[in-house]
Amino acid sequence: MIRRRFTIPVLVTIIAALAAVAVAALLVNIFSRQQEARNPFYRVVELTDETVEAAVWGKNFPLQYDGYRRTVDQVRTRYGGSEAVPRTPTQADPRSVVAQSRLEEDPRLKIMWAGYAFAKDFREERGHAYMLDDQTFTERQDVVQQPGTCMHCHASVYVPYKKLGGGDLIKGFEAMNRMKYQDARKLVTHPVACIDCHDPGTMQLRVTRPGFLEGIQKVKAAQGVQNYDVNRDATRQDMRAYVCGQCHVEYYFKGPEKRLTYPWDKGLRADQILGYYEENGFKDWTHAETGAPTLKAQHPEFEMWNQGVHARSGVACADCHMPYQRVGAMKISDHHVRSPLLNINRACQTCHRWPEDELRARVETIQDRTFEVRNVAMDALVALIADIKSAKTRGASEAELESARGHQRRAQFLLDFIEAENSMGFHADQEAVRILALSLDETRRGQASLPGGVATAGARTPRPMVQGATTGQPTKR
C-alpha cells in the first residue's frame, strides 16, 4: 500500500528532475554558444617588428598558430605533395625523413639538367615547415657554392635583413645576397614565420620581400602604373595572393652581386619571361651534354595563377590554399597551407556546389592532360639533346650547333616552366598547354636546324603515364 502511494510521485519527481537537467544543460550550451559568438581575442604578449619566433605570435593567435604548425604533414596528392621517405641521419645531414626523389621517378630530368646541381638532388617539395632544412641539407649544396640570396625565400628573413642593413631592409637584402650561403645561414633561424606576411601591430597582410616589392613594380609599370608600392596600393584581396607571390615565382640572381631579381619587365607569361632572358642573355649553367646556355625555371605558381580563370575571377591563393574555417563562432584562415585537393570541402565547395568526387575528377582531368603533353614535350627535348650530342661527335662546327643550342635553351625553359610549377597545369590549364606547345615547336626547330641526317624521333614514353612514376597514389587517410 505504501509502495503504491509512493510510486507515482517518485516517478514524477525523477522525470521532472531529468527534464530539469536537460533544460539546464541546454541553457548552459546556449550560454557557451553565445560566449563563442563574442570572438574573444586575448593579447598575452607584446608583438614587435622584431618578433621572429612564431611560437610567440602563437600565444596571441593560438588557432592560426596551430594550423601553421601542421605544415609538417607529409601527404601526397596524385601530382604533388610529398611522401615521407626515411633515411639514416648523418653528421652532415641530420634529417631522418625526406621527400621522394623526383630524379628517380623521372630520369629524363637528369638529362634536361645535365651539368646543373638539380641533376644531383631534386626532391618533391615538402611543407613550409621544412623550407629551411631542406635547402640547408640538399646535396645541391655539395655541387655548387650557393649565395646568401637563397635566404630570401628559405628563411624568415625580414628581421635578419633589417638587422644586417642597420634598419634598412633593402640594404640588408643586398648585403646578404653577397654573402656565402653558409655565412648567411648563420644569420637566420626560422622557416617562414608570421612576421613575413603580417604587420605585428595590425595583423594586416604586408609584403616584406625586396624581390617582390621590386618585381611587382615592374609588372605594374609594364601595365602603365608608375611607382607602384605594393604595401600602399594593393587591395586586401590582392595581398591574399601577393604575400604568396613573394616567393612562389620564377627568379634569377642578377650579376656578380647576386641580386635576387624577378624577370617580369615584359610581363608574367612564360614566353614574356623567356623574352626577357633572351634579351639580357642570362644563363643558369652550360648544359653538360650539348654546351647550350641553359636556364632553370623555378616554381612559377604566382605567374601561372595570374593566367588562369581563378585569378581572373578575383580568387586569391589564400582562398583555396588557406580557406576560411569555422572554429567556434570564429571564421579564420586555415594556416595549414596545403593542396586544396586535401580540403576540397572548404577550398572548392564554398563556390563550386558539386560533390567532392566530381571536383577532384575535374582537377585531375586537367592535370592528367597537362602531364601527358609534358611527357611528350620532354621526350622530344631528350631527343633534341641526343641529336645535338651526336652532331657534336660527328664533328659539327660551333656555328652549326649554335642555333640548335638556342632552341634547346628555349624549349627547355618553357618545358621546365610547366614542370617546375606546382599545380600540373591546374592554375591555368590552357596556358600550360600553350607553353608546352611552344616548347615542342622550339624542339622541332632545333632538330631541323642541325646538319642533315641527324634528327631522330627519339624514344616515346608510353602514354599517358611515364617511365618510373612521377605520379603516385594519393595518401590514404
Partner: protein
Amino acid sequence: MTTTRALILAAAFIGLLIGIGGYTFVYAKGYSYLTNDPAACANCHIMRDHFNAWTRASHRSVAVCNDCHTPPGLIPKYMTKAQNGFWHSFYFTTGRYPDPLRITPRNHDVTERACRTCHADLTATIDPPHVETARGGLTCTKCHNDVGHIE
C-alpha cells in the same frame, strides 16, 4: 501525510523545471522565433554570415528570411519553422553539422516556390521553352545565387 509530502516534492521539481525552462526560453530569445524579424535567425552565430550577406544583397529591402524560407499560409509556415527550428537547434547544440552549410531539398523547394511567387510573370515566360526548369532540373538560385545572400 507522506503522499502529500511526495506530491509537494514532485510539484516543487515541476515548478523548478518550469522556472528553468521559462528562463531558458527567455534567455535564448525563444519568443523571437515567432516573429518575422531576420535578426532572430542570427540568434545562433552560425547564421551570422548569412544575415550579414543578406543586409548587402539585392533582396534586403523586399524580402526577409521568412519570405523565402517559409511557405505561405499560417500553418505551413509554422510547420516549417517548427521542423527547421528543431533540427537547427539539434545540430547547433551538438555541433555536428557540415560546413559549408547545404540547404535541404525540402527547404530548397520552399525557396524555389518563393522566387516563382513574386517573379511569376517572368518565370511563366521562361518555363515553356525550358521544360526542365518547370520540373526542377534547373532552379532560379542555380544562377541567381547571390540575390538573397551569397553565403
